[in-house]
């Protein structure tokens, strides 16, 4: 499990408008590039100080490649990060609040306790 890295992907993509569009258009390519080039970037430090050990599990990689917010919820990704990024990518294709409500309906099978989001 690398919930921290899932959250790091969602966080770093969401804050970059170009990356949001790139992830929307090409999820597989963006996830593969990000894991290869960005996953070990220590934010706030120079690239010479990159970390050396961060990688997704296969299930995490598949959830991100599949734009699968239900799977991300199950894996313990931070729900605020997932929601914010997915609204940025997909709200535009729907009427007011339609996307947010469909997003919730897709998670209707989840009951308390929700997956642990501790990192």
């Amino acid at each position: 499990m690398s919930k921290y890295l899932l959250d790091k992907f969602l966080f770093t993509v969401d804050r970059d408008p170009d990356l949001v569009e790139r992830y929307r258009a090409d999820p597989v390519g963006t996830v593969d590039w990000w894991e290869r080039e960005m996953a070990n970037r220590l934010l706030g430090c120079t690239p010479a100080e990159d970390s050396t050990w961060l990688a997704f599990t296969e299930a995490e990689r598949a959830a991100l490649r599949g734009h699968d917010h239900v799977a991300l919820f199950g894996l313990g990704a931070h729900p605020f990060l997932t929601l914010t990024l997915f609204i940025a990518m997909f709200e535009r294709d729907h009427g007011p609040l339609e996307y947010q409500r469909a997003y919730a309906r897709a998670l209707d099978h989840r009951t308390l306790p929700y997956p642990d989001i501790s990192t």
Binding site: L42, F73, P79, F80, T84, A88, A104, D108, R110, T119
Partner: protein, 287 residues
């Protein structure tokens, strides 16, 4: 010494700015009632004639991140730029710039550290909608210097609810001991029941109206004991997965004082989450 001119606790709803400024077909049906309630709430701060605002809020994974996450942080800087790209994108919030009150920030840091709160600090902090929403609702002129105090209600492990109450009590004492003849309003924002990114989000009401009813009662009556008896880090998952933001209301209950009823209390049932607004006047209600 400084005077605590008002203690104010509020929800921070990022949709208010867009709802209140939209017109014609874009204006939601609840906007007029919402604006009327906000304008009445705003008057409670105006009447207190504050010189400085201590603003308690929580960064929503904007500047503060999991590689270096403070539990409580005081912003000490001459200025604070405000609002982030994703808040413009999702909520239409404007970019803002607020002046800082560095002397009060330094006082809170020194006194807080000496009182057993290991407060982090930031000398370059971009503040987000947890602080700018109450500026927009309560002081849209944005003309007063602020001291932002950020709490972690977002990234476990978090401090327990008791710690939020204790910090609120300490902030009240520390403001009162600030050797400046200034009138300080202590303003904090959080949430009632709230679900974000889960199955109960964006419903017709907040995810747990019964929790909201109890929470409003606790805050309005200053019933810290009943609130602490019922609210734990674990229990806050039940009303909604983002309800830990209620701990910022608990901090403000500590600042207002145990058993001290609010001088002003109002709420508004909206889709997705309930709004709630409270003001205390430690000096007595201004004329």
């Amino acid at each position: 010494m400084a005077t605590v001119a008002a203690v104010i606790a509020s929800t921070h709803h990022p949709f208010y700015y867009r709802a209140s400024t939209s017109t014609g077909g874009d204006r939601p049906p609840f906007a007029d009632e919402w604006v009327a309630k906000i304008e009445a709430f705003r008057e409670t701060l105006t009447r207190a004639r504050p010189d400085v605002l201590v603003m308690v809020g929580s960064d929503h994974f904007h500047q503060l991140w999991l590689d270096n996450m403070p539990q409580f942080l005081v912003g000490k800087a001459p200025f604070f730029d405000a609002n982030f790209h994703n808040e413009e994108r999702e909520f239409g919030l404007p970019r803002m710039k607020l002046a800082g009150q560095e002397d009060l920030a330094a006082h809170l840091l020194r006194q807080g550290l000496d009182a057993g709160f290991d407060l982090a600090f930031s000398n370059e902090l971009r503040i987000d909608h947890s602080v700018t929403c109450p500026i927009i609702t309560l002081r849209p002129e944005a003309d007063l210097p602020i001291v932002p105090v950020y709490t972690n209600i977002f990234a476990p492990p978090m401090p327990r609810p008791e710690r939020f109450v204790q910090l609120g009590r300490a902030i009240r004492r520390m403001v009162e001991s600030w050797p400046a003849g200034q009138r300080v309003a202590i303003i904090g924002t959080g949430h009632l029941s709230l679900e974000l990114g889960g199955p109960r989000q964006f419903g017709e009401h907040g995810p747990d109206p019964e929790f909201d009813r109890k929470a409003v009662e606790w805050i309005a009556t200053g019933d810290v004991d009943s609130c602490l008896a019922e609210v734990t880090l674990d229990s806050l998952h039940t009303p909604g997965n983002a309800t830990h933001g209620f701990m910022d209301f608990m901090l403000m209950m500590g600042a207002a004082g145990d058993g001290v009823a609010a001088d002003y209390a109002d709420s508004l049932d909206l889709f997705h989450t309930m709004e709630a607004y409270f003001t205390w006047y430690p000096e007595g209600t201004p004329a």
